[in-house]
Symmetry: D2
Subunit: 432 residues, 4 copies
């Protein structure tokens, strides 16, 4: 197996002294993530969910151009008149665009042109940021949204790159294996009680949040218990070896159909070699580390595993209430900046009374639909399409992952995917 | 247009004096529903959701044979060894079966054989019912489930027959037009307040319910208001004429994709003729009655209509709390027994302070996922597949419809369909 | 297995004394073929190639109405204004029509209405035929075409009915097993030489032919040899047992793809039971008769069998030259009128110097494309769509089958199907 | 529109002084063809027919490794054990391989690794060629086949590159527009008679041919006439403007289905701008040159055009007989070596008595199936899969094109494509 080792991406400070330096740092981070790639890697789209890295680099740039430069910089000339058609993702308000499934058919514009596009837009943005004091308050809001948007695509870049490299039988490595905690076995999971009652959920206070977190509201939950860590590979392997993927009784009907039609027998990226179970990772094919959290499971697999245990997944309300109850912070979590790009095991001597891995490591599937909070209204204009139009048929995930920028996550953050998706760093935490 | 008028089906008493007579009455009702059909009508499956009436008649019979006769009648001989393969719907526990999409390819066994099958099973069931006192309590439970199951298929028979007849350009009538209230215009909708707080939802008390209603539990809702009647055809037509089907801003993303790929421009069964909008009904093609509730809309259409109004759909919790608050009963509602087979307008002088049409007329889409209630566990064995395995990616509908047997509905009843389904009698009630 | 025995259809005289009696006889034959069916059998379309018998009965009637009655009978009123939309097969000249794939979704008009339609049209046709002497010559030509067209649909009725009944696990019989020759083993195939040179092919002389047979023209063929009978089930079974369906080397590429995706392991309708290979037939499931010709094979299977033998299929030119050379006649062949509905073995003492089974029994796949003969021009108007527009991507079959009316076949007759089709009575004759 | 001009590829001598130098020249030509590409261009597969250039470069190299080096060079070590899986095209004999539709999902191995692979194999091939005198005669045969194979992929490279660049709205140019004949109008087409009778077709004599050309045999053709040049864009535009793409009467049925489902309104690569019809070419988007031959038409379009003219396409036998009759040579034809990459108009003063453009410029669709010649047998082993398994459902094209290496074509050469393919340089010559 040929590998292409690269230095681990440098961490982005989460406390920039100015918006301009934060802008620069985040824009730089996207480029850094693509540095280990060859031009060929930036073009392909092996499945519809996975966009070419070149497209991510251009689309995030188009976002700045469309929502900031064209709105707030008089006389701004777009870099190229065709780029709006090429790099609009899903905004109907902004006209026709390349079909999502066809993103991987376009070799042009090439990667270098995209980098030129980024430089052009960054330079204009820096001019605009210098004038920030003269701009209306809405500017700062959309600017913040643009930063958050770019961070979201950084996570997608990390996971899409992984998928792209995985399709080759050569199992190429994105980077050399980082030095990470190596742990023989995780300590047993402990149950932590959370008192029920009427609680508040949703965002409140200073700082940024997405519109889908707004509308802090009361919910009633009964007393419940949560496991103090994520389910591990060792635990999930028991399910596999007990025939979990062959027994319909544990599965939701639509999940069982997928198990059969897609021949699922393990999480995405797992391969059984003569020498045992391996996983494809950003540093190539490696043995499954038993103490690490299981990841790249669909909601169906998470739910079936819970059924097999006689347990269940938490709701998003329970998750948020617990996270607040336990005072969850980013400290100790694994985020994009670590460069590890895999959820990490907890220490063998980790306290059984603390709730670990709530932020970072792996997105936690909840048994809650991605629906609007009470009082939610879609914003007018194109940005109203950002979140609201997806509010059906998807499930909420909470807590961020090893591919999430640390400054991007918070306990009210609502991520969402269809129940069959597996290419994100998704994991399982059990409740009862 | 050739029509095939038939007498309106006779109502089934909702208060039978014995289980045996209730069994007979319900079994008879299924046959009565099919009496206006020709053998040809009982075979076809124009889309995967719509099963051939012959299949419904056989499948309900197979249910009795499988879960009652084979379990509780010693020495019972199945009617035909191949029928389990032919008429199992979705029970993995009970072995392989005809693909759902292929139900409409089977001309044999013919309708007459199915009637013979029904008679054979009914006679054995009556023998078994005579011995009821000697049987374990589980017998009565499964018996009740069988009756409810047969009633569910009666509703499906009514809606599937409608769809089947609708595919012919001849627009054949299932029955002569019944005499029903004719109302020029519905009174304006009024808003009824419902006090919020911590409420209980879920079934409790005597009588039958499905397992998905169990686990009465507390929920918190804020104060809200509900409209006192269903949205009418006249109101929905305003949305159509305002270009609602051409403006993506009102639609969820997956709904908008369907509007475009399926060329939706109105509810299912609506046709614009030179003489104005018409609807295909059980009594052929008729002008749209403006005062009647709109029906045969998908969740996407219900939601887009609410968005266009600047309002929203209720959650299932709100609906149930309101129904209990207003003391909803079946009185005045339109059910299968009426033979009207269409939701009916409320009287022009209906009280604006009462909440109308909560039970009967049209299923009301809620903005709630069909998820398990807290504490839900799937039963062991085949009956555990009855409800639990569908608990993802569907939405809850409440209140029953004009095709629901009156004795079948209650305010805790949770029906569920995918967001794109339109062939059931589905309607809209607005909340805010 | 329940069977529904019916008397074998009565043979139609091939020498009627008048056109009117020929019209009556052929129209009657179509109805006779459907007599053993239940209404349910006449509606379904299990695969796109197989049309509902009800549709065949109506479409052939529509043909008379459209091309004869509307053209030549002043004041003729069509039976129903929607029937042209419902029962046009593929004539673009005649307007829009039901999608071919949707023929099996229409339960209405019911079978009885179709019989009323047939009677209505037949009565008018008989009136028209009484005036035949006053009509232009084109009338007689289209009349003859209509008779031939109806006979073509009789063959399709026989094969479509077989397919429809085969889909039921009950394996219902269309008719009781007829008394037919029972032969233990066929005599070995003998090679018959045919001298090459420049020969004439194509129709010439009196009587009817299709436009695709016209344009008698010269072709050069080298000397060749033909087997004196069709390949038998016993011979084809050797290929199966030698692993022919598992070895790509014998197969054309597109055929091999089908073998794998469709899991072909034997001809259509073959089933391997504990008691050996069986075939579904018009009289239910019966053991494979080893001496009978193999049938229901695709071109790919015919070609792969020939490759496995180190031999080949004849071209259509070779076939026609040989048929003329050997003086092929219908005598001794198995046709629709026999009611046997299966190709029959040749007698154990059949002469090795004669060429058997050229006409009747099974259509013989040739290795010739269905292309236009030199000088072919499509006729103007709708009848120009009868043959010409299919002249690419199909292969020619020659000689008729056990489902072909005897009066319908001749040695210049060119049938055509795509290479993957198996539901017709198709067989194999080898050449070298 | 950004362009990436590159010098026109240097012509390859068609008369190398030795096999080794011919090997070097042809291998070099493949690399030259890809020189104007960016790495991104070499990866994508916008439709299944179009393979990534990287794949072509690797597959041709795999061919040498598999059929020459592994067979004839003792101790040869394959470059990489996974490459056989990655770069086998369709040889079942040689094991499993990447699905054809997935070639465009593989970013790795990158282009540079493929060039290293080519160098590795070329160096070993040169060592082997130095020993040629000691090798068995079969070596020289497979060597020649390898050279022809590489030339076939050069043509595919030229046409696949064109398709890949065409998918971008930027319309990037592969090379600067070459200097070519510019002609206002082509002289009118003249009819040239060819005497019929029994003729010989198929390859005979010295030099290389493919197995599908072997088996020289007699055919009879009637007298016929051929047009002395290809149909021009001006002529085809008349068909477009006369509504040819809107009138089913000119089209074969399967062609008409495509016209409607694919919304064909002109040949591939034609775009109607405000300034008139343009075509995408290897040098970007340019106005349609009226005197040049129409190209990038499917068989269906070629046939419909001929039907509209009341004429027809020639058979492959007629074409070959005519080409021999007129003494067709490569002189004056447009081939790959010219670097023009577009069929060229004939001179305004071209002789009406000569038959132009028979070799080079555009492949000419014939109305002949790609079937085996009499006596054809597939070779044993993997090379037996080269041609034989495609011999059904495709049509023969004759004469080579502007993307065919001049040394590769001859009058007996049989190219073949499915009737719907348009991405090759395919054109029309009329017969009667």
């Amino acid at each position: 197996m040929s590998t292409h080792p690269h230095p681990v991406a440098a961490p982005v400070s989460t406390e920039p002294t100015s918006l301009a330096s934060r802008f620069q740092a985040i824009r730089h981070q996207s480029v850094e993530l693509c540095r280990p790639l060859l031009p060929e890697d930036t073009v392909v789209q092996p499945v519809i969910d996975v966009s070419p890295p070149k497209w991510h680099l251009a689309h995030t740039t188009w976002f700045w151009e469309t929502f900031l430069l064209r709105e707030y910089m008089p006389g701004y000339q777009v870099f190229h008149p065709d780029y709006a058609f090429l790099f609009n993702s899903y905004y109907n308000s902004l006209g026709s665009r390349v079909n999502r499934a066809d993103r991987g058919t376009l070799s042009r514009p090439p990667l270098n042109d995209i980098y030129t596009y980024r430089t052009y837009v960054d330079e204009h943005m820096e001019q605009l940021l210098a004038l920030q004091d003269t701009l209306p308050p809405a500017f700062a809001e959309v600017l913040e949204l643009g930063l958050q948007h770019e961070q979201q695509h950084q996570e997608l870049l990390a996971t899409d790159i992984k998928y792209i490299l995985s399709t080759s039988p050569l199992a190429p490595a994105y980077q050399a294996a980082p030095t990470s905690r190596s742990v023989d076995a995780a300590p047993p999971a402990a149950w932590l009680p959370v008192p029920g009652g009427v609680h508040q959920v949703g965002f409140e206070g200073e700082g940024f949040c997405f519109d889908n977190e707004l509308g802090r509201h009361s919910v009633y939950v009964a007393d419940f218990e949560l496991q103090n860590r994520l389910v591990t590979n060792a635990e999930f392997l028991e399910f596999i070896e007990a025939g979990g993927y062959q027994d319909f009784r544990y599965w939701l009907g639509e999940g069982w159909d997928l198990v059969q039609s897609q021949h699922w027998t393990a999480p995405l990226y797992w391969v059984k070699l003569d020498t045992g179970w391996h996983r494809f990772t950003h540093h190539g094919l490696v043995p499954v580390e038993m103490a690490a959290p299981v990841t790249h499971v669909s909601f169906y697999e998470a739910d079936a595993y819970a059924q097999w245990c006689g347990l269940r997944l938490p709701t998003e309300q329970e998750w948020e209430i617990a996270a607040r109850h336990f005072g969850a912070t980013a400290a100790g979590g694994t985020f994009l900046e670590s460069g590890l790009l895999d959820p990490q095991p907890i220490a063998p001597d980790a306290s059984p009374e603390q709730c670990h891995q709530l932020l970072g490591d792996a997105w936690e599937w909840t048994y809650s639909p991605y629906h609007a909070y009470p009082g939610y209204h879609r914003a007018a204009g194109a940005l109203g399409e950002y979140n609201g139009k997806f509010m059906v048929n998807q499930l909420v995930l909470r807590g961020g992952s090893c591919a999430t920028p640390e400054s991007h996550i918070r306990i009210t953050y609502r991520n969402f995917f269809h129940a069959d998706k597996r290419w994100q760093f998704t994991g399982i935490r059990l409740a009862r």
